[in-house]
């Protein structure tokens, strides 16, 4: 076995230390300098192709990736005349009970539909509500037509059916004005979706996180228990009359809390 020069003086007659086999080393090794720079500039190293010796990621690679990320997106949304101004509000809500049943998504769709309908009703606009449901990641978007006619169980049934889009009630399919984005299982708490086409309200939620929280004890006192929480991000087109992201999200939250406590009607 060859002995690296750095070890030679320690081994007068001794046994060379085993060297790490090349086959067991991670395919890409990043230097501390590259790792710190990537952290500082918010670059995900796993997605980079290194241009250094043996494909190593260099500081130039990280800087280049960071600069690219800072360029304005060339998406249709940013094209002149099609820019849509949006507002987003974010909140956290407890869903300890809802996570134990499969209906968290259905509850959120139902709560969002009711909220959007309340805005529409107040302005005497169209009362038919179609929802586009995205997620979990990897799956095709599903559409629930006339969702306002459905309760939680109905929405759950429609979402569980293979042959979506389905109508909540008889009627002609319309373009969705609400989209719900389910990011569970991705490690992401929420995102801010682009409002596509006819969509004026988008609700995004991600992983449910368990953490200590204040709970009510059977004797009426308060203690510390484990609760499940989810982040909700609601984005609204600012041209939607009578709507503000914060107010709509408060309504969604209120409705979801009603489901959580079993007080929903």
């Amino acid at each position: 076995m060859s002995v690296p020069p750095s070890l030679a003086p320690f081994l007068p007659g001794g046994r060379p230390a085993p060297r790490a086999s090349g086959g067991h080393r991670p395919r890409q090794v990043h230097s501390p300098r590259v790792r710190r720079l990537a952290h500082d500039r918010g670059v995900h190293l796993g997605g980079l192709t290194g241009t250094g010796p043996r494909g190593r990621v260099t500081t130039d690679d990280v800087n280049r990736a960071a600069s690219m990320a800072e360029l304005p997106l060339a998406s249709p949304v940013a094209a002149p005349g099609t820019v849509r101004a949006c507002h987003t509000a974010v909140t956290e809500v407890e869903v300890t009970r809802l996570t134990t049943s499969p209906d968290l998504l259905a509850c959120l769709v139902e709560s969002s539909v009711r909220t959007v309908r309340s805005v529409r009703a107040a302005t005497a606009e169209v009362v038919r509500t179609t929802v586009s449901v995205h997620g979990p990641p990897g799956g095709a978007p599903r559409t629930v037509v006339n969702a306002h006619d459905l309760g939680v169980q109905g929405i759950q049934r429609v979402l569980g059916a293979a042959d979506t889009p389905l109508n909540g009630s008889e009627g002609q399919a319309s373009r969705p004005e609400l989209s719900v984005h389910d990011l569970r299982g991705t490690g992401v708490l929420f995102d801010v979706p682009v409002l596509e086409d006819s969509v004026v309200v988008a609700l995004s939620f991600g992983d449910v996180v368990d953490r200590p929280t204040v709970v009510e004890l059977p004797d009426g006192g308060r203690g510390i228990g484990i609760g499940s929480f989810v982040h909700l991000a609601l984005t609204v087109d600012e041209h939607l009359a009578g709507a503000s992201a914060a107010r709509l999200l408060a309504q969604v939250r209120q409705r979801l809390e009603a489901h959580e406590s079993g007080r929903s009607s």
């Binding site: 003086p9 230097s31 501390p32």
Partner: protein, 325 residues
């Protein structure tokens, strides 16, 4: 500004301080009438007389014992240990007395003593007259350790060492004695604990000491022809150490190489590698690499001595290989 050899710069630095301060005296073997075996004290006897430039018997213990007593009682001696290898025969006085007196007297007794010594290899003097002993000295708390690489630095750092109230081991590289350099006219006073960037660069930091400095510079020029822009820092002073200059450079280049003449184990570069791991780990773009003499006694045969000591070629080869792997 004048061209001055490294050896003449030693005498100039000592003479500068002897003119300024009558407490400065020089002691050592053959340093008076003969002007030093390496001719580093030529002219001092003529200018300052036998009471201040004193030949001693061939006894390193006697030289340092006398110098230590003189320093404790008000003089500022410059003592010569002809070959730094001979520190081994007077090590008790250096380590247990000279280095510790100021500490053990709670600062009541200072030790303004410079021990100048011919250090390093490359001159075919064999295993007992060629060692680089900076790392012996820097391991002892209480000693300062300086190794200049240019004539100008010899003058300025000798002045700084003589004016310092602590014992300073002043390592003169025997292989540089004949080297000439521009030295400004007039009084020169340098600062202990300061490194110098000899060649700025972006891609790698090369630290060198003594005779390894010109070799590192030659390596850097060679690397530049192949697109690698190396920064060369002359460490000059190991204790105290200019950590700021070193860490700043590593922060810029991300790569560190040390060029050490000493055998590998416990060389000064190992201490700096440890420092950089502690203070600049997140600046590193690759492992710190030390280029040293192997852990062997230095051979006297020309070809073997040349083979084992770091050369401009071995430095350039190591840096290039590291930056391409």
């Amino acid at each position: 500004m004048a061209q001055l050899s490294y050896r003449d710069a030693v005498a100039r630095g000592i003479a500068q301080e002897m003119r300024r301060d009558e407490r400065v005296v020089v002691v050592g073997e053959d340093i008076a009438g003969a002007g030093g075996v390496f001719k580093t004290t030529v002219g001092l006897l003529d200018e300052f007389g036998p009471k201040r430039v004193i030949d001693t018997p061939i006894s390193e213990q006697a030289i340092l014992g006398a110098a230590m007593g003189a320093a404790m009682t008000g003089l500022r001696p410059v003592a010569e240990i002809m070959f730094s290898d001979f520190f081994a025969v007077c090590w008790d006085i250096v380590v247990n007395q000279i280095a510790k007196t100021r500490y053990m007297t709670a600062g009541q007794v200072t030790m303004p003593l410079v021990i100048k010594t011919g250090n390093g290899g490359g001159l075919r003097f064999g295993a007992q007259h060629s060692q680089s002993i900076e790392n012996w000295a820097m391991a002892i708390p209480g000693l300062k350790v300086v190794t200049p690489s240019t004539a100008e630095d010899v003058v300025g750092l000798m002045a700084a060492a003589i004016r310092d109230d602590d014992p300073v081991i002043f390592c003169e590289h025997k292989g540089l004695y004949a080297a000439k350099g521009e030295v400004p006219d007039g009084e020169i006073i340098d600062t202990l604990g300061t490194a110098k960037v000899r060649r700025p660069g972006r891609d790698a930091t090369i630290l060198a000491l003594g005779m390894m400095v010109p070799r590192a510079l030659a390596a850097a020029e060679d690397l530049a022809t192949r697109g690698i822009d190396a920064e060369v820092i002359d460490v000059r002073s190991l204790v105290p150490l200019d950590t700021r200059t070193i860490l700043d450079s590593v922060a810029r280049t991300g790569r560190l190489f040390t060029v050490e003449e000493n055998p590998q184990l416990l060389g000064w570069g190992a201490e700096i590698a440890s420092l950089v791991a502690d203070e600049a780990f997140w600046d590193l773009d690759g492992p710190v690499q030390r280029i040293t003499t192997p852990h062997i006694p230095l051979p006297s045969a020309d070809s073997l001595e040349d083979l084992v000591m770091p050369s401009a070629e071995s430095v350039a080869r190591t840096v290039e290989k590291a930056l391409q792997s």
